[in-house]
Amino acid sequence: MLHRVSLALALAGITAAAGAQTVTVNSGGGADHTTITAALAAVVANPTTPDIINITGVGPYNESFVIDSSVSIVGFGVRPTIITPGVAGDSVTSLNGRGIAVTTHTATPGAISVRLENMNIIPANATVTRGIYSNNNTAGATADEMDIELVDVLVTGNNGSGVPVTTDGLNSFDYSSTPGSFTFTDDLLFFAGLVDVTMTRTIASNGKGALSPDGLVFNPDTPHALTVNEGCRFTYMNRLGIQVAADGTTLRMNGTAANPILILGNDLNSTNPAFGIWHDNEGTASNDYVLSYVYVLNNANAGISTAFVDAGQGSPAVTADHLVIANNGDVGIGILADALHLGSSLTPPS
């Protein structure tokens, strides 16, 4: 079932100036609403920005939803689990099958800012494709910007009992040894459209579905920014840890000494090409491209594959510090502008 949330056009650009509207959700009762979907509908009915939805019970919340207005959804003093059956009913924006979808609205254009904080997101069945997904609404406000922030969000598989297969992303889960368990079938985090994304302590782990999932795909339509902050983990995927495929991307990976970014164990035992980080960026001179305190370990193919191509586009300078790259299948780092070394010569170790 498709649920849409929208704000009035007149309020679309207003942020802190208006008073915050806060509603609460608890599936066990004792709050304003028992579902996140109902809370989203309620904040639309009383359009005030910013909207805050505080989830006060652990749930689970068996629902999928589409967010197309500015809102913060926060696990408030608890860490709720959303068991998502996948969005249905969308015909124009490629939202069907996604767990949580962010998009611009057809009738009420305007930039939106969405924040998800302190929650688990797992699939309700074995057909849900992506955990969190964004794309502009191609039938309407295609030029509107989306700003998405994820803080302390875990996206992973379902152990068959409505429980995440990992809590910290540090172990590989064997779905075959736990009857009834299942994974998202595709990328756990996928961002398309006009979108900037910032994430902190967010984990995408154990996506081992049939569609060669990546932990994070950043593929905006035009140059935008991806910021990956401390404590983020992209681990034990069937393919890439991170894929940054769009030209002109600004990429900032800001791990810290106390809380580095981990990209571990992606596709160790498969013939998939599986890099820790895959960049393919025809950038501009103004792009930031920074990696700091990042571990890239035990991935099947290259640790980091970077291609900055096309003379004359003024590709950015890249700075990387405090990386540890080791035990990746073939290349530690590929800094490439030709296809010579990225074809069949890259194969997993025997």
Binding site: L211, S315, V324, D330, L342
Partner: protein, 146 residues
Amino acid sequence: MNNSTKPAATTPQITIDSATDVINMTTTFRDTIIGGNAHTTSTNGENSVLIGDATGLVVFDHVDLVTAGAYLLSAPYVLGGTGVAPTETGVVNLDPNFKQINDATLSTFVDVQESGLATASSTASPLKGAGDFTPILAANAWNMYQ
């Protein structure tokens, strides 16, 4: 353009659109450890740092390009096509003697034990990532008195 789909699932390799493509940026690695998978042979740059056709420059500034131990590279770097040799400052080729890199749940994950890296960073501090630096030699000396 609408990028709601990603490249083909089994072929994420980079597609280059003309023979004139070049790298035209500077890539700087600082205070970084780059190890391999212990394969000692290199064909077309496997198990190494691979620098392809380039007009830009790769800079290794206080970097350990590992050529010994359990996670050695087959070569510190390999140039492909017209790749340009990197600029190297403070580069070492030591086995970092990682305590272990397979179990991320343990506090010993990616701890560096090689005493030769004690002052190898750009600030003369231990060259390591975000883990601990616990030189084997120091640990052994301490153990003698236990």
